[in-house]
């Protein structure tokens, strides 16, 4: 394993985390006003009504998939009776479907952004960069999922996942990561770029998912502080 690669899997993730957390704090303090979905539904809703729900719902599955795949160690899964084979069949089917749906949806969203005049006019450079990285992340993700079609003993569960958990407990397992195939490495790198972009793009809207709405009273009263 080269020196450069170990730097990559040790230093880069922490830089990513620092930028992500620091960026969010900074953005929240500096730019609460810019913290929005910047919805483009007023301009166009026919395509959006298909693409946006498809994208977001599929993405929710993808996120759940990442959490199970990366955070839950293989032997825990096996302890509750999920064999490696069963896991992969499931991961491939559900992950494949969700991944493909996300890919199609992001394609539709980009198509809409580009071809619908008013929407394109309202697309900033920031949006374009974000979309490029997002699309690459999803594309590489789908490719890795499909490439994992042949179930094997060496999968991300023994390479990327232990490294990822290691990063979280401040003991990144570089050796495990080094055994991952090139595709996974590429996807992981793009993922890190996306996380770096996250606080500085419209993606921040994801963090204000308004779950509190389910619990608050309907009418909000506010009183000027005296």
């Amino acid at each position: 394993m080269s020196w450069g690669e170990s730097m990559l899997w040790i230093v880069a993730p922490y830089i990513t985390i620092v930028i992500f957390v620091g960026g969010l704090i900074w953005r929240y303090r500096y730019d609460k006003f810019g913290w929005t979905t910047r919805s483009s539904q007023l301009y166009e809703s026919r395509l959006l009504r298909v693409a946006s729900p498809l994208f977001h719902y599929a993405l929710l599955f993808v996120i759940v998939g990442h959490i199970t795949g990366l955070l839950i160690p293989r032997n825990w899964m096996e302890a509750i009776g999920v064999s490696n084979h069963a896991y992969h069949v499931n991961a491939l089917t559900w992950g494949g479907i969700a991944g493909l749906a996300t890919l199609v949806a992001v394609g539709l969203l980009i198509y809409r952004r580009r071809t619908v005049g008013p929407v394109f006019l309202a697309t900033t450079n920031n949006d374009k960069t974000m979309y490029a990285v997002l699309a690459l992340a999803i594309l590489s993700g789908v490719v890795t999922t499909v490439a994992g079609f042949v179930p094997s003993e060496v999968s991300y569960r023994t390479t990327v996942a232990p490294w990822f958990r290691g990063v979280l407990i401040l003991q990144p397992d570089v050796t495990a990561m080094a055994h991952a195939s090139g595709l996974y490495k590429v996807h992981t790198l793009i993922g890190m770029v996306l996380i770096v972009l996250f606080p500085f793009s419209r993606l921040v809207h994801a963090l204000s998912a308004p779950l509190g709405y389910l619990f608050r009273p309907y009418i909000v009263y506010r009183r000027r502080p005296r």
Partner: protein, 534 residues
């Protein structure tokens, strides 16, 4: 009983000449910025007509406001909380820009740049949404003064099966509309972020621009379609009831500039604990009475023991709005059936009836004739009832009879008849005279009885947390798109600027002409000096 106060408005429709001054001054003050070109916090509609946005009153389609569910409980018509969250990724029932109109500008450069030719160059229209050349085909008042087929009017469809009005039956009046600053605002209830709120002190409903995340559910929630989406900033905006002016005791810009002087502003006291009960009475036609019952008589002993500043109680006692709504019962709420308990009420116009009478050669000022005509003119009265009382003609009849009685009684008085007899409309002679005074003669300080901001000694007003104004203004290319950065909480007419203007003879150099400010940049004097960024 929890007594709260609200600054409410009444408009006397008989006096509206449809000049749109209110719309224009409001726009110049609040929405002359990129992203809100199509936004009219105040608009004036011709009735019958489609309204703005087109056919907004068709709630089968737009699903604004509240309904009662099977258990008789209030429920947002567009669906409850869970449904809102599940459909948040693309709101299934949001009007598109075409339902409003595509705002435009003119390519004036063409006037000077066009190559020499025998034709005079023109400034062709350009869409402000797509930037492309456009054909202007609709606007906020395209069907002004019946300048179009009124039959798509959803209210008209409810009144008459034979929707096309014949010429003899035609009637027309203007309906200026702002946000209703409802007691039970469905826009607030629809906002997933909780960014919309009703101020406890004066009932004004505002958007906290810092907390709005652009989920655009409020646009669907408001049945009057008075929530607008700023397509540049990605945030919702709405009529502010000119709160910076109201806080210092000045009327809203639309009221101040109204040429007909037909708007009244004053305090209404209401029992906040009874709001939801009133909004959920089973029969829509009872909503008008139910809302009247929520309002509290300012002379009620309970008011004295409530936690209200004395000048607010005093203002409530002198409130012109209270008199028009509750004492004389000639002002009615707009579309009470939406169950939001609106707080901008209307004195219905008698003029369609008078005109119809005069058109047939009768004396349009005579009480007997007018009373008979009110009964006979089914379509105008039915139409007004669909607008103001969920279709119940009785309150509309009462209001119109009282206006008619006042009219003929005051004519008798003014003609010097020795013993004018007040026509029977349930009001005494003194009441008729007082009502006449309020409707015809009332001066500025009788039409606008506005106490200064709650809890503060007059003159010291802290600016609230919300503002539509922010440093840099939208349209500037900031790092995160067109409108980012930290909003500076100042209001357009900030208190110090206002005081300066009122107390000095000279206009200070730092005072910007707001009417010429297009929202770009920060002209000197508009914002307080910026504190040094540390």
């Amino acid at each position: 009983m929890r007594i709260m106060a609200q600054i409410a408005m009444v408009m006397n429709l008989d006096k509206c000449i449809g000049c749109h001054t209110c719309s224009v001054t409001c726009k110049q003050t609040w929405t002359n910025r990129p992203g809100v070109e199509y936004v009219w916090f105040n608009n004036v509609e011709t009735r019958p007509g489609q309204g703005y946005p087109r056919r907004y009153e068709d709630q089968d389609r737009w699903r604004g406001g509240w309904t009662l569910n099977r258990k008789g409980k209030l429920e947002l018509r567009a669906g409850g909380r869970l449904r809102k969250l599940l459909t948040i990724f693309a709101n299934p029932i949001m009007p598109s820009i075409q339902d409003y109109y595509e705002p435009w500008t003119y390519d004036y450069e063409n006037l000077t740049n066009a190559p020499l030719s025998s034709d005079i160059p023109v400034a062709p229209p350009r869409s402000l949404i797509s930037g492309e050349p456009t054909k202007i085909s609709w606007s906020a008042n395209w069907d002004d003064s019946l300048g179009g087929d009124p039959s798509p009017d959803p209210v008209l469809a409810q009144v008459s099966d034979q929707v096309k009005l014949s010429f003899e039956e035609a009637f027309m009046f203007y309906l200026p509309r702002i946000c209703e600053h409802c007691l039970n605002p469905s826009c607030v209830a629809s906002c997933p972020s909780g960014a919309l709120y009703k101020r406890e002190e004066d009932g004004i409903v505002l958007v906290d621009q810092d907390r709005c995340r652009g989920w655009r559910m409020c646009v669907t929630g408001c049945p009057y379609k008075k929530m607008y989406f700023n397509h540049k900033t990605g945030k919702a905006e709405k009529c502010t009831f000119c709160y910076p002016r109201v806080e210092v005791g000045l009327p809203t810009v639309c009221s101040e500039t109204c040429v007909g002087r037909l708007r009244y502003l004053g305090v209404l006291l209401y029992d906040a604990d009874r709001v939801s009960a009133a909004a959920s009475v089973p029969d829509e036609r009872d909503l008008y009475e139910a809302q009247l019952d929520v309002f509290i008589d300012p002379d009620d002993p309970a008011v004295a023991s409530a936690d209200l500043p004395p000048d607010w109680v005093e203002a409530a006692r002198r409130s012109p709005v209270y008199q028009l709504i509750k004492k004389y019962r000639i002002a009615l709420p707009l579309h009470p059936e939406y169950r939001t308990l609106p707080m901008v009420w209307y004195v219905p116009p008698l003029s369609p009836v008078v005109d119809a009478l005069a058109g047939t050669g009768h004396d349009g000022e005579d009480a007997v004739n007018l009373f008979a005509a009110i009964e006979a003119l089914r379509i105008p009265v039915g139409y007004l009832a669909e607008l103001f009382t969920a279709g119940d003609p009785a309150p509309v009849n009462t209001a119109l009879r009282r206006l008619a009685a006042m009219r003929s009684y005051m004519r008798a008085v003014n003609l010097g008849e020795p013993h004018p007899v007040p026509p029977d409309a349930g009001l005494s002679e003194d009441e008729l005279r007082d009502m006449y005074r309020l409707l015809a003669l009332a001066r500025y300080d009788e039409r606008y009885v506005i106490p200064t901001a709650y809890g503060n000694p007059p003159g010291v007003v802290e600016e609230g947390v919300c503002s539509l104004d922010y440093d840099g203004g939208p349209g500037m290319q900031q790092p995160f798109g067109e409108a980012s950065g930290r909003p500076v909480p100042v209001s357009i007419e900030n208190f110090h600027g206002l005081k300066e203007r009122q107390t000095s003879d000279e206009i200070t150099h730092d005072r910007v002409n707001l009417l010429n400010w297009d929202g770009r940049g920060t002209p000197a004097g508009l914002f307080p000096p910026r504190r040094k960024k540390s």
